[in-house]
Symmetry: C2
Subunit: 279 residues, 2 copies
């Protein structure tokens, strides 16, 4: 049985970096916590806890030691408290998120009103807004909201990293009717679209697709959906134990991909299980 494992299966660059930083920091610091769970994977969070990294929800509850900032960042106000308390910082903010924060701040400093394409309650968006320190920022989720924007002399646009390109494009279009100068920083991270496109390609070649990741993970479920549309013989599994021999009757080529919060070792177990079956 041939196995095609997606290059883009599992952690994106930013999540990989954040978990590595966390495991390293666990060795280095006696007293350490993360502000919220590092990633949406109970397995990973549990492993980190075993290494001594406690998950704490509110920055006010941390009084000493080191704190890990997770990949989608924190707000300027939280950072102020961390500095005030002289906590050690392990900054695992994804560099792509940091870029969006920096561009928004720069735009405000240069006199632009900022249009932030994203969901207003998302922590990443809240973080980006906070670093502008009271600059004029409009959070806009879609075209309908963009149409309600006021006219401004200079509009600067940044996007939450997980937005779709099409949404950014359509909102930029509308902004051009609201301002004589529009400056757009495309801060969209393509990890999700790259993963989905690769999954589509593999699903076309494989006789059976395995999509590995939490049943409560929105991006894994979406990935499984995309594969299913192309290859009806698609199975979404959380762990290797859920794989059944019966599925593979007559199968010559198995495609494997995984959601953004699926750790490497779970993917490896799945690959091994399928390989063993071929023997």
């Amino acid at each position: 049985m041939k196995i095609i494992l997606a290059d883009s299966a599992g952690f994106c660059f930013g999540v990989k970096r954040a978990t590595n930083l966390a495991f390293d920091a666990a060795e280095q610091f006696e007293h350490i916590c993360s502000l919220g769970p590092i990633i949406h994977s109970p397995q990973v969070v549990k492993k980190l806890e075993e290494k001594g990294i406690k998950v704490i929800r509110k920055v006010e509850d941390i009084d000493h030691g080191a704190v890990i900032i997770r990949s989608h960042g924190i707000t300027a106000e939280e950072l102020d408290i961390i500095h005030d308390r002289e906590l050690k910082i392990v900054d695992a903010t994804c560099p792509f998120v940091k870029k969006a924060q920096d561009y928004a701040t720069m735009l405000c400093n240069e006199g632009y009103s900022v249009v932030l394409v994203g969901e207003k309650d998302h922590p990443e968006v809240q973080g980006i807004i906070s670093y502008t320190r009271g600059g004029e920022v409009f959070v806009v989720a879609d075209c309908k909201e963009a149409q309600r924007l006021p006219n401004r002399p200079k509009l600067g646009i940044v996007a939450q990293t997980t937005q779709s390109f099409k949404n950014l494009q359509q909102i930029a279009d509308i902004c051009l009717g609201k301002s004589k100068e529009v400056r757009i920083f495309n801060t969209i991270c393509d990890a999700t679209s790259v993963r989905q496109n690769e999954a589509r390609k593999i699903a076309c070649e494989a006789d059976l697709m395995l999509v590995v990741g939490g049943f409560n993970s929105a991006n894994t479920t979406r990935l499984a959906q995309i594969c299913q549309e192309i290859q009806p013989r698609t199975f979404h599994v959380e762990t290797v134990e859920q794989i059944q021999d019966g599925w593979f009757e007559g199968v010559e080529c198995v495609g494997i991909t995984a959601g953004a919060s699926t750790p490497r070792w779970i993917i490896d177990q799945v690959v091994e299980r399928v390989s063993d079956m071929s023997k």
Copy 2:
């Protein structure tokens, strides 16, 4: 008979300014010429000639005295020659055109590749390119040409002042797929669209439309076309003599507008002629 005269009939701001500057300069300078005809109106050019302003096509042919730069500007190379020969300058470049020149130059200086939305052979476009002094400038007339643009780290967009907003918008859309930063200066002058929109509005109210301007003026012909679609009783006239009494039978409301190169005195003659008819 009621008369509705369009506010936007005739000269735009830039052409009005240029002709005023020219008539003033004629008083001031002994030896004076314009580099190309100031506007596309033979009547105006003739009046200026009577005041001593000769039309000269090539800057190389001017060796002393003052030179008038017309509203759509000249190239940096022509300006260099003017400076070298120590000619006096009457700069009638429209401030809106100057803005497009300045933004393009600024964008090049700040490391942007410039996308100039316009017709590559138009003197205004040639002027804008020249001031960037060898910066990377792509002239793009439409979406098809925009699609062929290469990827660049930073794209800056400016437009020839007479471009349509829709064209700018669609090209900006495509550029967003070619660069992580796109900075758009909407340098479109709305004189033309304002004149056309006002003509549309008046044509809806009037029983008869008079559109005044040269038969060889593209923008006047377009204006007459727009009115005709709404009010079939539309007449395009070049001079007051062409107006015929018979046209006005049963007419209660006359709308009047004029192209961008139609001088005020010709419009006034038309208004007077129609007023006289009502008596």
